[in-house]
């Protein structure tokens, strides 16, 4: 573990992409700190405070496939989707992702890259989009989404988040009594 990623379990939107990329690349340990504001990645002597930079740095350090010309457009898509609640926009983005993923296993090349994690994280953190996906109108996006969610590293990261939330709930109970 070269680095440390500090986040708050109650962050909203929660930086799913950063936490899951840290787990996948095993390049940073995730530390939950309730008092943390935003996100802080300490990696190889540098301090990073935005999720997109954190995902890029972790992916690079983890040796994930290098950026393609399309990667920045996926980061832009993730940024617009993460807090989008406009149904037509969400539908249009999911339709376009679905067309692309009809014939492609991942967003860039034939392996998981930063583009997959940043877009997956944006979808995962948007309850409206998760609802849309559950309707199964975008079966190719769903296949890709479920694959990333099912990875052992993703499952471990989500379990860590659940544990941090439970810990916080117990701590609150203690204060109340």
């Amino acid at each position: 573990m070269a680095g440390t990623l500090t986040v708050s379990a109650k962050a909203s939107p929660f930086p799913f992409a950063a936490v899951v990329t840290a787990a996948y690349t095993q390049n940073a340990q995730v530390v939950y700190d309730e008092a943390a504001f935003g996100l802080t990645l300490e990696l190889d002597g540098s301090t990073i405070t935005t999720e997109s930079d954190a995902v890029n740095a972790l992916a690079k350090a983890g040796g994930l496939a290098e950026d393609s010309a399309k990667t920045p457009s996926y980061f832009a898509l993730a940024k617009s989707l993460v807090s989008s609640s406009a149904v037509p926009d969400i539908q249009a983005s999911l339709n376009s992702l679905d067309d692309y993923l009809t014939y492609r296993t991942f967003l860039v090349g034939h392996d998981v890259t930063a583009a997959d994690f940043i877009v997956w994280g944006a979808l995962r953190g948007n309850i409206k989009i998760v609802g849309f996906l559950k309707n199964n109108q975008h079966q190719h996006v769903l296949r890709w989404y479920n694959h990333l969610e099912s990875l052992e590293s993703t499952q471990a990261a989500l379990a860590g988040l659940a544990e941090a939330k439970a810990h916080k709930a117990r701590a609150n109970q203690k204060t109340a009594s």
Binding site: T102, Y103, H110, Q139, L142, R143
Partner: protein, 131 residues
Amino acid sequence: PDVRELVLGAAKAGGVDFGKSEKDKAEVVEWVENVAQGSAVKAESLKDLDAKLVPRTYVVSNYPTVADVALYGALHSTFSQLQPTQYYAHPAVTRYFDHIQSIPPVRKSADALSPAFSHIAFDFTNAPAIE
């Protein structure tokens, strides 16, 4: 074309599994037997296979196994004869086939048996919109 050689070569190259759990191992065996039996990979069965592959990235669990190599190998002769309109009609099998053929140990094994499992190039940029 010798699918068995292809599978053994890919397994030897590493990165493809026989199944990480007992349950996965049993499923791998089931797929391999099904593929060896032959009917699943005929052109007329592609529709059924396509439906099975829509929700899957790999046939067993979420990582590549020898079942994927066997299925890819068995599909190769069918795919080498498909016209674009035919593979566009089976997008999930095509996506799956293209992914498995690109996995490094599979590619390595396939190239060693050249020209039997030559890389097949697909044109996805000009694929017609679905529905």
